[in-house]
C-alpha cells in the first residue's frame, strides 16, 4: 500500500474513493470489494510498475481471457492471480485521513489525473455504452462460428458493401483516427487468408498491404504529427499475415479478369461490374502508392513518375463509376455505428485504446469517403508535377502552393515529399542536395562563377569558396528545411518557420562573405590583367541576394500565417500589417528587382562580348546563335515580373489594412485591451521575436514602430480613412493590370474593391453615431479580410 501509509510530501489526500494510482493493490481490493466487473480490475497485475500506459494497452492473452466469459470467473480464483485481501488495511489507512485529503503517489501527476476514468461515468467509461444484455464483441473466429460473417458465396451487394465500408475506414484512418478503431473493426482484415471468396480475400489482403505501404511513405516523409496521423496500431494483427506488396496487383488483376469473364455470362452484370470497378480502383490506387516506394530504385524520375501518373489517371476515371454504384452495396443500418451490416465489430478494440479517454470516432460516410479519395487522387496527380520543378525557387513555390491547397491531407503531403526527394536524388545523383542548390542559384540569378561554360568557373580558388559555401548550406539544412516545413500541417508550420528564420542568419553571413571574397578576387584578377575573370567576379551580390530573398519569404509566410490560423486579435492587425507594408514586401521587391538587373547586365555584357567575338572573325557557330539569342533574352530579362507585380499588390493591401486599422482605432471602433496586465510592447516584441536574431533585415524596435504609428495617426479620422482607401485603390489598379490573373488575384481584387468602398463610406462620415467594430471576413483570402460594416 505504497503512498497511503506515507503521505508526507503531499498536501492532498483522498477521500474514501481510492485513487487508482496511489496504490494499485488497494484500488483493486476496493474494486473487488464493491463487486465491480472484473475487467475494471485489470490494472492490478501491473502493481510493481504501474503506469497509465500499461492499463490501457493490455491486449494480451490475459485480457482476451478476461473477455471470454468463462475465463472471467477465474479472475477471482486464488492462487492463480495471487490476490491478497487488503480491505482492512486500506480502511485503517483511510481512517487516518481527513475528508478531502488525498493520498497521492509521486508518479501520479496531471497526466494520470486527466487520464483516469471514472467508472460508471457515462462521459468517460466506454463500458457505459453497453447494457448488460450486450454480447461481447465477436472476434473473427467467433463471428465465423456464430455464422455472423460469411466467408464464401458473398453476393455482389455484400461485396460492394464491405469494400465501400473499407474504403471509408481507410479514409478515416488517413484523417488521423487510430487504425484499431477504424480499419481493424473489420473482422475480415484480421485473417484474410481464411476467406474463401477470392474477391474478398484479395481485396482484404490488398488493404492490409496498402496500410503498410502508406505507413512507410508517411514515416519516410516525416512530416506527420500526432494530430495528423496515428502510426501505431495493433501490429500483432498486422503481422499475423505476411506482407506481399509486389504480388498484390497481380492478384487483383487475376480476380478482376475472372469476374469480368463471369460478367459476360450474366444477363444483368451491373452489380458484378461494380465489384470489378472497385477491385480495379484498388489495383491502380495501390499501384500508384506502391510505386512511390519503388521510385528510389527507378531508372529515371520521369519514367517512374509517369507510371504513377498513369495509374492515378485510371483510378480517377474509375471513381465516378464507383460513386454511382454505392447504393448497389449493402448499407449501414441507420443509427448504428457499424459501417456495414456484415463483417464489422466496432467495439472489438475498445480496450486497446491509448491511455486517455477514447476519442469518439465517426467513420466517414461512403459518398464523402469517395469524394475524399477523388480529391486525394487529384492531389497526387498534382504532386507528380513536382519533378518538373528542378530548381529551388520553383520547387519552393510549388510546395507553398501545394500546402495551401492540400495541406490538410497527411498522405498527400507525404506523397509529395517522397516524390521530390527521390526526384532530386535521381536527377542530381551523388551529393544531390549540393548539386541541386548550386543549380538553383544558377537558375535564380546566374552568377558567372556557377556557369560551367564560363572560364572563371574553373578557377580552383573560386571552386573552393563555392564548395565551402554550399557545404555549409547543406550542413545548416536551412534551405532543405524550408521545403520540408511546407510539408507539415498548416498549424505546425508556423513554429517551425520561426525557428527556420533564426537559422537564416548564419547563412546570410556566410553568403555575404562569399560575395565579398568574389569581389576581392575580382581585384586580384584585374591586377593580373585577367579582364574576363575580373568582370565575372566583380560586384557579386548573387549569393547574399539569394539567401536574403528566401529569408524574406519565410518571414512573410510566418507573419501572414497568423491570420490563417486566427492567432491575431483584431487590435493586433495594425502592427502585423505595418511590418510588411513598411519593410518586408519592399525588401522582397528590391531583392527581385536587383536580381533582374543583374541578369540584365550580364546578358548585355554577354551580348557585347559575343559581338566582339563575331566582329573579330569568330566561328560560324556564333553567327548562327546570334540572331536567336536577343529574342530569348528579351523574355528572360524579367523572369520575376509577375511576382514583383504580385508584391506590389500585396504592398498596397498591407498599406490599406494598416491605415484602415489606424483609422478605425482612432475612430473608437476597435475593441482594445483594457486590462492593467496588457502591455502592447510585450505583445509587439513577441509577435516579431523570430526576426530579432537576424542581422538583415535589422530588427525594428517597438519605439520605432510607435513613432511611425503616431505619425501615421496624426491626421483626422476622415483623412485616415481616405488614405486607406487610396491604398486599396492602388492595389485594385495593380491587380487589374495583371494578364490572365489566377483565382487568388481575382479574390484579392475583390477584397481591394470592397475595402476601397468601405473606407470611402467611413471617410465621408457615415455611421458616425454607431461605433461598432466592423467584421473582418477572411473567407476570400487568408491574408486579407473584407471589412464589413454592420
Amino acid at each position: 500500500m505504497k503512498g497511503v501509509g506515507e503521505p508526507t510530501d503531499f498536501q492532498a489526500a483522498a477521500a474514501a474513493t481510492a485513487t487508482a494510482a496511489a496504490a494499485a493493490t488497494a484500488g483493486c481490493a476496493a474494486a473487488k470489494a464493491h463487486g465491480e466487473t472484473p475487467a475494471d480490475v485489470e490494472n492490478c497485475e501491473t502493481d510493481q510498475d504501474w503506469n497509465v500506459g500499461n492499463c490501457g494497452f493490455m491486449d494480451t492473452d490475459w485480457q482476451q481471457k478476461i473477455r471470454s466469459n468463462s475465463a472471467a470467473e477465474d479472475i477471482t480464483q486464488f492462487p492463480l492471480y495471487a490476490w491478497v485481501n487488503v480491505t482492512k488495511d486500506f480502511h485503517n489507512a483511510c481512517s487516518e485521513l481527513v475528508p478531502g485529503e488525498l493520498a497521492q503517489d509521486m508518479l501520479f501527476g496531471l497526466f494520470e489525473a486527466m487520464s483516469a476514468i471514472e467508472i460508471m461515468d457515462p462521459k468517460m467509461d466506454v463500458g457505459m455504452g453497453f447494457d448488460k444484455y450486450d454480447l461481447p464483441p465477436p472476434s473473427f473466429e467467433a463471428a465465423v462460428t456464430m455464422g455472423a460473417i460469411k466467408l464464401d458465396d458473398l453476393t455482389s451487394a455484400e461485396l460492394i458493401g464491405i469494400f465501400d465500408a473499407l474504403f471509408a475506414c481507410v479514409v478515416s484512418w488517413l484523417e488521423g483516427n487510430s487504425m484499431d478503431q477504424v480499419l481493424f473493426t473489420c473482422l475480415y482484415l484480421h485473417a484474410p487468408s481464411k476467406i474463401k471468396d477470392k474477391a474478398l480475400r484479395v481485396f482484404c489482403t490488398s488493404v492490409r498491404n496498402l496500410i503498410v505501404i502508406i505507413k512507410n511513405i508517411i514515416v519516410t516523409a516525416g512530416v506527420n504529427e500526432e494530430e495528423d496521423f496515428q502510426l501505431y496500431g495493433n501490429s500483432a494483427l498486422l503481422a499475423a499475415e505476411k506482407a506481399q506488396p509486389s504480388a498484390i496487383t497481380g492478384l487483383l488483376k487475376e480476380v478482376e479478369d475472372e469476374l469480368v469473364r463471369k460478367c459476360k455470362q450474366l444477363t444483368a452484370p451491373e452489380d458484378l461490374m461494380a465489384v470489378v470497378h472497385r477491385l480495379r480502383f484498388m489495383r491502380h490506387l495501390y499501384q500508384a502508392i506502391y510505386q512511390v516506394e519503388l521510385l528510389s530504385v527507378a531508372e529515371s524520375a520521369e519514367e517512374g513518375v509517369n507510371e504513377i501518373y498513369k495509374s492515378l489517371n485510371v483510378a480517377a476515371e474509375l471513381l465516378p463509376l464507383i460513386r454511382r454504384t454505392i447504393d448497389r452495396g449493402t448499407q449501414p443500418v441507420e443509427g448504428s455505428d457499424t459501417p456495414n451490416p456484415m463483417g464489422f465489430s466496432p467495439r472489438i478494440h475498445d480496450r486497446s485504446q491509448p491511455p486517455t479517454f477514447p476519442r469518439s470516432i465517426k467513420i466517414r460516410e461512403r459518398p464523402a469517403s469517395f469524394q475524399f479519395l477523388e480529391e486525394m487522387v487529384g492531389r497526387f496527380k498534382y504532386a507528380c508535377k513536382v519533378i518538373r520543378h528542378r530548381d529551388y525557387y520553383s520547387a519552393l513555390n510549388f510546395f507553398i502552393e501545394y500546402s495551401r491547397k492540400s495541406g490538410q491531407c497527411i498522405l498527400s503531403r507525404s506523397f509529395l515529399q517522397n516524390l521530390f526527394t527521390t526526384g532530386i536524388r535521381l536527377v542530381h545523383g551523388k551529393q544531390s542536395m549540393k548539386q541541386f542548390l548550386k543549380y538553383s542559384v544558377q537558375i535564380f540569378n546566374s552568377p558567372p562563377v556557377l556557369n560551367p561554360k564560363h572560364p572563371v568557373a574553373n578557377d580552383p580558388k573560386v571552386q573552393q569558396h563555392l564548395d565551402t559555401f554550399f557545404r555549409y548550406c547543406i550542413n545548416m539544412n536551412t534551405f532543405t528545411q524550408f521545403i520540408r516545413i511546407c510539408g507539415f500541417n498548416r498549424a505546425r508550420q508556423r513554429d517551425k518557420l520561426a525557428r527556420l528564420i533564426e537559422n537564416f542568419d548564419t547563412i546570410q553571413v556566410d553568403a555575404a562573405r562569399l560575395d565579398s571574397l568574389m569581389n576581392l578576387m575580382a581585384n586580384e584578377r584585374a591586377l593580373e590583367g585577367n579582364e574576363l575573370h575580373a568582370t565575372a567576379l566583380k560586384h557579386s551580390t548573387h549569393f547574399s541576394t539569394w539567401v536574403l530573398y528566401n529569408c524574406f519569404r519565410a518571414m512573410l509566410i510566418f507573419l501572414m500565417s497568423g491570420f490563417e490560423l486566427e492567432l491575431y486579435a483584431v487590435h493586433e492587425f495594425l502592427y502585423i500589417y505595418w511590418y510588411p507594408y513598411e519593410f518586408l514586401v519592399g525588401f522582397l521587391v528590391s531583392a527581385l528587382t536587383r536580381t533582374e538587373n543583374i541578369l540584365l547586365a550580364q546578358e548585355e555584357y554577354a551580348e557585347h562580348q559575343s559581338k566582339i567575338q563575331v566582329n573579330g572573325g569568330g566561328g560560324g557557330a556564333g553567327k548562327n546563335r546570334k540572331p536567336a539569342k536577343p529574342k530569348k533574352n528579351k523574355k528572360q530579362q524579367r523572369p520575376y515580373r509577375q511576382e514583383i507585380v504580385y508584391y506590389h499588390a500585396l504592398l498596397s493591401l498591407c498599406g490599406g489594412m494598416y491605415k484602415a486599422m489606424g483609422a478605425l482605432t482612432k475612430d473608437g471602433r476597435i475593441r482594445l485591451p483594457t486590462s492593467k496586465f496588457d502591455n502592447e510592447e510585450i505583445r509587439y516584441n513577441r509577435r516579431f521575436s523570430p526576426f530579432v536574431p537576424l542581422t538583415s533585415p535589422p530588427p525594428v524596435s517597438y519605439a520605432e514602430f510607435k513613432n511611425i504609428r503616431d505619425h501615421m495617426m496624426r491626421p483626422s479620422v476622415e483623412e485616415l480613412y481616405a488614405f486607406a482607401a487610396k491604398h486599396f485603390d492602388q492595389a485594385r489598379n495593380v491587380l487589374e493590370s495583371m494578364q490572365n490573373p489566377e483565382q487568388e488575384m481575382l479574390d484579392l481584387l475583390q477584397i481591394a474593391r470592397t475595402n476601397f468602398v468601405v473606407m470611402n463610406v467611413l471617410a465621408q462620415g457615415h455611421q458616425k453615431g454607431l461605433k461598432r467594430q466592423p467584421e473582418f471576413d477572411f473567407s476570400r483570402h487568408s491574408y486579407f479580410p473584407i471589412i464589413k460594416l454592420k
Binding site: 498536501q11 492532498a12 489526500a13 483522498a14 477521500a15 474513493t17 475528508p99 478531502g100 488525498l102 501520479f108 496531471l110 497526466f111 494520470e112 489525473a113 486527466m114 487520464s115 483516469a116 476514468i117 462521459k123 468517460m124 488521423g176 504529427e225 500526432e226 494530430e227 486517455t356 479517454f357 476519442r359 469518439s360 500541417n489 498549424a491 505546425r492 508556423r494 513554429d495 525557428r499 486566427e566 492567432l567 491575431y568 486579435a569 483584431v570 487590435h571 473608437g668 471602433r669 475593441r671 485591451p673 486590462s675 496586465f677 496588457d678 505583445r683 516584441n685 513577441r686 509577435r687 521575436s689 454607431l770 461605433k771 461598432r772 467594430q773 466592423p774 467584421e775 464589413k788 454592420k790
Partner: protein, 202 residues
C-alpha cells in the same frame, strides 16, 4: 505531450450565440438579470478555496459549462495542490463562477496555467469571468509568474474576447486538440520581458 491533455476545455453552448466580431463597443450588460433583480448588478462575493465541500460546487459548475469530462482526480490535482489559485464567485449562497489554476516552473520560467474557468449561464456578461481571472493573475503575479498560459476552443468567442481584453496573445493553433476533434488555441499572457529566448518545450 502532457500539455496536450491539460485543460481540455471546450464549450457547448454560448459560443454559437455570437456569430461575429461585430458587436457594439459599448456593450449591453446582462439586462435580463438586472431587470428581474433590483435594477442593479447583483452583489457578487469572491473567495478562494477553503474546504472540501466546495469541491462539489466547482465540479458541478464546470461539468455544466464545459463539455470535456474531467475525473475527480483532475479537480483534486489542481485544487488541492494550488488551493490559493482557485477562486469562486458567489451570489448569496449560490456559486456562480469559478476559476482553477496552477503555477509551476516550466522550462526555466515560472508558468501559470488557467485550467478551468466557468460562469453560470444566468450570470454572464457581468465581468464575473474577468474578475475571477484578474484575481487569479494577481495571485500568480505575487507568486512571480513569468507568463500565464491556457487553451481554449478556437470557436469560443466569449472566452477569446475575455482573454484578448486582458492582454493575452494567441500563440499557437493546436490542431484536433479536443476529444471531439476541435482545434484549440494556446493563449499566453507575458508578464515580463523575456530574459532569454526559451526553447519551445511545450
Amino acid at each position: 505531450m502532457t500539455e496536450r491533455i491539460e485543460a481540455k476545455i471546450s464549450v457547448e453552448d454560448e459560443k454559437a450565440s455570437i456569430d461575429s466580431e461585430s458587436e457594439i463597443i459599448e456593450s449591453s450588460k446582462n439586462d435580463e438579470l438586472m431587470k428581474e433583480g433590483t435594477q442593479s448588478i447583483p452583489q457578487i462575493d469572491y473567495s478562494d478555496f477553503r474546504e472540501e465541500s466546495q469541491l462539489l460546487s466547482v465540479k458541478g459548475l464546470i461539468d455544466r459549462e464545459l463539455s470535456e469530462p474531467y475525473s475527480i482526480y483532475t479537480y483534486r490535482y489542481f485544487i488541492y495542490t494550488w488551493p490559493h489559485l482557485c477562486f469562486f464567485a458567489r451570489h448569496g449562497d449560490k456559486y456562480v463562477g469559478v476559476i482553477v489554476c496552477k503555477l509551476e516552473p516550466h522550462g526555466g520560467l515560472k508558468r501559470g496555467y488557467i485550467a478551468m474557468l466557468a460562469v453560470d449561464g444566468a450570470y454572464r456578461r457581468l465581468k464575473i469571468g474577468t474578475t475571477l481571472t484578474e484575481k487569479a493573475i494577481d495571485t500568480m503575479v505575487l507568486g512571480e509568474a513569468d507568463e500565464i498560459v491556457l487553451e481554449t476552443e478556437l470557436t469560443n468567442r466569449p472566452a477569446l474576447r475575455l482573454y484578448d481584453s486582458l492582454g493575452f496573445i494567441r500563440e499557437k493553433r493546436l490542431k484536433r486538440y479536443y476529444l471531439n476533434g476541435a482545434d484549440a488555441l494556446r493563449l499566453k499572457l507575458f508578464l515580463k520581458e523575456p530574459i532569454y529566448e526559451e526553447e519551445d518545450v511545450d
